[in-house]
């Protein structure tokens, strides 16, 4: 018997794919825009031969077969070209003739995206729609002695601090004796977390920077953004806007040659320096900028050759132990700016967070700790790292805060939480919950990409091609044909909208709780959840 020569183990049908393209022959104008825009060439022109049987009514003529040809769309079923569900085809179609939809069962393509023995890598998010943060409610509505506050009319002070804060006794003593008081920044509690120049396109970065400048200079909101590991454009380093930037140093030290050389020409100190030891999306793994995205501009800023993949090692080369590494690097970074800039580490949320934190409490220079939970996003990671590694942020930040309370240093080492904040759109509620669990502020990435730039990612494996430079919205691409789709002015405008609406929503959360004079850090009595074990774990109220 003849073997089925064309059928091999990885032969898939459209039914086996994660995303299936629905196309309407009636509506299609054959304009070709969908095939042109598809970032992964999942669809191509299809020439279809169609048989028709013509049966006449009379008896003289026998039935005959006629063949026609029609043109349309073919969805490729090779896993390497599988549709990513971005729906750009739908966006550009003049007639709504095409749309990707989820298949009705778990796909088979996932078993075959390792051709050549390379496991799936992608960008984006964890693809887990659930969110514990979404379940947390604010239950302590101030009804007792006074009506709740008016979010629209009361004055609110909702800033937070970044930097090492001395105990009051020491601070007053040092103040009298002219001792060194660590630098502390008063900032807005919603930070844009580390997304590098390289991971993001130039237009996206420019848009974010413009938005931040506007928020600071026109609206008086001290919003800060972290560079991620990719350096900082030379002009920004030498501009007055540097003060709104948190420079990140990570294990690859990408971009630090440029930064160090720019030091004598800096007009302002940066807001802070973040030392990245880990991130939530790929805990314990290094950074990765794939070669597709390393163009000459990125290469110049990072001080590397163009067109090569840039993996940062998981560990810092100088690292013997976290104590030593943290201590050394924090000291070095402080020295670079004459002890005027706060320096703090960022780690992946982990069951060993408190060990790191305890170390920081004993290091008088550590200016805080950023903790990135399992829901953190990334530009590039192995699928297994994104989906299965890491620790949820809510319980990790709570543990860390309660640990600080136990040793009395809850005001000294501010905690910043990241990972999955606003993953389902509930940015202010998620941020407020984390603040009341003990965070001094929160860091976001994906939310800003979605709200300010229209990122198409979702928690059901949509798009996720941030890693290969094919971002159809131009957010994470270094290809000018793609990133020109993104107007930086519009990104800035949307970022400002996002912050203003967040600010209103945050007030709508804290005002009914009777809070306005300071950020309600650790106000856990306001929180409740309808999950008994979660309530016990977080030490908040169980409410049903």
């Amino acid at each position: 018997m003849e073997s089925m020569g064309n059928l091999h183990p990885s032969t898939l049908s459209t039914k086996d794919l994660h995303w299936r393209i629905l196309w309407s022959k009636e509506k299609c104008t054959l304009c070709g825009r969908c095939t042109a825009v598809c970032p992964v060439q999942a669809i191509e022109l299809g020439v279809h031969r169609k048989r028709a049987v013509n049966v006449s009514l009379g008896i003289k003529e026998t039935p005959a077969t006629a063949f026609t040809v029609y043109h349309g769309i073919d969805q490729r079923t090779d896993a390497a070209y599988a549709c990513i569900g971005c729906a750009m085809c739908n966006l550009v179609c003049p007639n709504e003739a095409i749309i990707p939809v989820h298949n009705d069962e778990i796909d088979k393509q996932r078993f075959h995206i390792n051709t050549g023995g390379v496991p799936r890598r992608r960008g984006g998010r964890r693809n887990s729609p659930g969110s514990l943060l979404d379940q947390i409610k604010f239950v302590r509505i101030s009804m007792l002695t006074d009506p709740a506050l008016d979010a629209g009319r009361h004055e609110f002070e909702l800033r937070t601090l970044l930097g090492r804060i001395l105990p009051a006794e020491e601070a007053l003593l040092f103040s009298r004796e002219n001792g060194w008081i660590p630098p502390v920044r008063e900032i807005y509690p919603l930070l844009i977390g580390s997304m590098s120049f390289g991971a993001l396109s130039p237009t996206m970065w420019e848009g974010l920077q413009m938005g931040i400048a506007y928020l600071n200079e026109e609206l008086g909101m001290p919003v800060r953004m972290c560079t991620g590991e990719g350096g900082c454009p030379p002009r920004l380093l030498r501009s007055r806007f540097l003060k709104y930037v948190i420079l990140q140093i990570a294990s690859g030290y990408f971009g630090w040659d440029e930064i160090i050389h720019a030091l004598p020409e800096m007009k302002e100190d940066p807001c802070a320096v973040e030392i990245k030891y880990g991130q939530g999306a790929k805990p314990g793994d290094g950074g990765l900028l794939m070669w597709y995205k390393v163009n000459s501009l990125i290469a110049r800023v990072r001080g590397v050759p163009a067109g090569v993949s840039l993996p940062s090692p998981p560990t810092h080369q100088t690292k013997y132990s976290i104590e030593e590494s943290v201590a050394k690097m924090i000291q070095s970074m402080y020295m670079a700016w004459g002890f005027r800039v706060p320096v703090y580490p960022k780690i992946s949320a982990t069951s060993t967070t408190n060990a790191v934190l305890n170390n920081l409490t004993r290091n008088p220079y550590a200016g805080g700790l950023a903790i990135d939970g399992e829901d953190g996003g990334t530009g590039a990671a192995y699928n297994v790292s994104m989906d299965h590694m890491g620790y949820p942020i809510a319980s990790n930040i709570r543990d860390a805060y309660l640990n600080l309370v136990k040793i009395g240093k809850q005001n000294e080492v501010p905690l910043f939480a990241g990972g999955g904040i606003g993953k389902n759109g509930n940015l202010a509620a998620n941020a407020a919950a984390l603040i009341m669990l003990g965070a001094s502020g929160v860091q976001i990435g994906k939310y800003a990409m979605q709200a300010a730039a229209g990122c198409l990612g979702s928690e059901t494996d949509r798009c996720n091609v941030c890693n290969i430079g094919l971002c159809p919205k131009g957010i994470t691409s270094q290809d000018p044909r793609l990133y020109r789709r993104l107007d930086p002015e519009k990104v800035a405008e949307r970022l400002v909208d996002m912050y203003l609406s967040f600010d209103t929503e945050l007030k709508k959360v804290v005002a009914p709780l009777g809070r306005s004079t300071s950020l309600p850090i650790g106000m856990s009595d306001a929180l409740g959840i309808a999950d008994k074990s979660a309530a016990e774990r977080l030490q908040i109220q169980y409410v049903v």
């Binding site: 006074d146 008081i181 809070r515 300071s518």
Partner: protein, 377 residues
């Protein structure tokens, strides 16, 4: 809403005057409890200025335990007033065996101790007795153990409780007093939740709700001060913050005000001491209060004060005449006690103000957060 009355006078007064003021203001309180703080004592306690006075409620068993505890440690009772009510208690007031105010001579070996150490031991003695009472199911409730201070707390209508205890029959007089007329409503009802609160000469009571209570409590509880316990009321933290400011930071009322209600960041930019105040604000950030609150109290040196939180949604008025000043949550209370004062000099502190009357009771002093410090910092 609580009704509060605070008074300071050159001449010793009966506590009944403060309770009568509460009664005048009764429209606004539910008569569910009474708390009294008396200091700068006259009457039969006048001669014991430097000896600690224990104030509390005891069962018969509790009195025995107390006696044994104090004797073992070398305390010698010098004078005491024990109220053992024989009548039926008013509605809502539990029957108690004894209300005790006892003056002790402290152990001879304490004479050589520094004042700080002695004051710490007074506090620890109070805490140990309080703990004994909690552990044995309520044989004693201890409100204060401090020289020249008497405290009383009870459930029930203030005037009815006073009549029941015959407060006017004893020669308990004081120049400075705090009186409060309601049980705690925010948390469980217990006498330890009843204002005023006291720690090492600092006493305060509050009209309001402190919505920042939990983070403040966590901060205070982690300061390693044995006295920062309790917190059955969200207002107890006001007393402890004052204590922290005074004892730990070595500062006074101005700093207290800047700690609990710091100026906003942009206000600090315009303040002559902005840099230093910003440091204070940063380092004491967890002590920033919230909610509407009017805090009145006494410092260890008998200075009477009142401050509002930065929202100023609570009433509070200061008035009087040289030698006699009062702070009242309602003007009618003040009118009742000092009707012949110059009312044009009455003052209702607003969000930036600190108002105080020094131990000389000569005048009402006003200070606000835009001014420079008058006390050492």
């Amino acid at each position: 809403m609580c009704r509060l009355f605070s008074i300071t006078s050159r001449d010793p007064l009966s506590p009944m005057i403060a309770l009568e003021a509460l009664n005048v203001m009764k429209e606004g309180h539910d008569g569910s409890g009474v708390g009294l703080y008396l200091t700068d004592l006259g009457g039969e306690f006048a001669g014991y200025k430097h000896c600690p006075i224990l104030s509390g409620i005891f069962t018969k068993e509790g009195l025995k335990k107390l006696n044994e505890y104090m004797t073992t440690r070398g305390f010698v009772a010098k004078h005491e007033v024990v109220i053992r009510p024989s009548m039926s208690p008013p509605t809502g007031t539990p029957r108690r065996d004894a209300y005790l105010f006892a003056v002790y001579e402290y152990p001879a070996e304490w004479m050589d101790l520094s004042r700080e150490e002695r004051s710490l031991r007074f506090m620890i003695t109070r805490l140990q007795l309080r703990q004994m009472g909690i552990e044995d199911g309520g044989s004693m409730m201890i409100f204060s153990f401090w020289p020249d201070v008497i405290m009383l707390k009870e459930i029930g209508d203030p005037m009815e409780v006073a009549d029941y205890l015959g407060l006017d029959k004893h020669r308990i007089l004081a120049r400075s007093m705090l009186a409060q007329g309601r049980q705690n409503t925010n948390y469980a009802i217990t006498l330890y939740a009843c204002h005023p609160f006291f720690i090492q000469g600092v006493a305060t009571m509050t009209n309001g709700e402190n919505t920042a209570f939990v983070p403040i409590r966590e901060f205070l509880s982690s300061r390693n001060c044995p006295g920062y316990i309790g917190y059955q009321s969200d207002s107890e933290v006001f007393t402890h913050i004052m204590h922290y400011t005074h004892y730990r930071l070595g500062m006074g009322l101005e700093a207290y005000k800047h700690i609990i209600t710091p100026l906003k960041d942009e206000e600090l930019d315009r303040h002559p001491d902005g840099k230093w105040l910003r440091l204070l604000k940063h380092t004491c950030r967890p002590l920033i209060i919230d909610g509407p609150n009017c805090v009145m109290g006494f410092l260890p040196d008998k200075t009477m004060f009142v401050v509002q939180d930065s929202k100023k949604l609570r009433p509070g008025i200061v008035g009087g005449k040289p030698g006699l000043y009062a702070i009242s949550s309602e003007m009618c209370g003040l009118d009742y006690v000092i009707p012949d004062r110059d009312k044009s000099q009455d003052f209702q502190p607003m969000k930036y103000d600190v108002v105080y009357v020094g131990p000389d009771r000569a005048e009402v002093k006003k200070w606000n957060q835009w001014e420079t410090f008058t006390h050492p910092r």
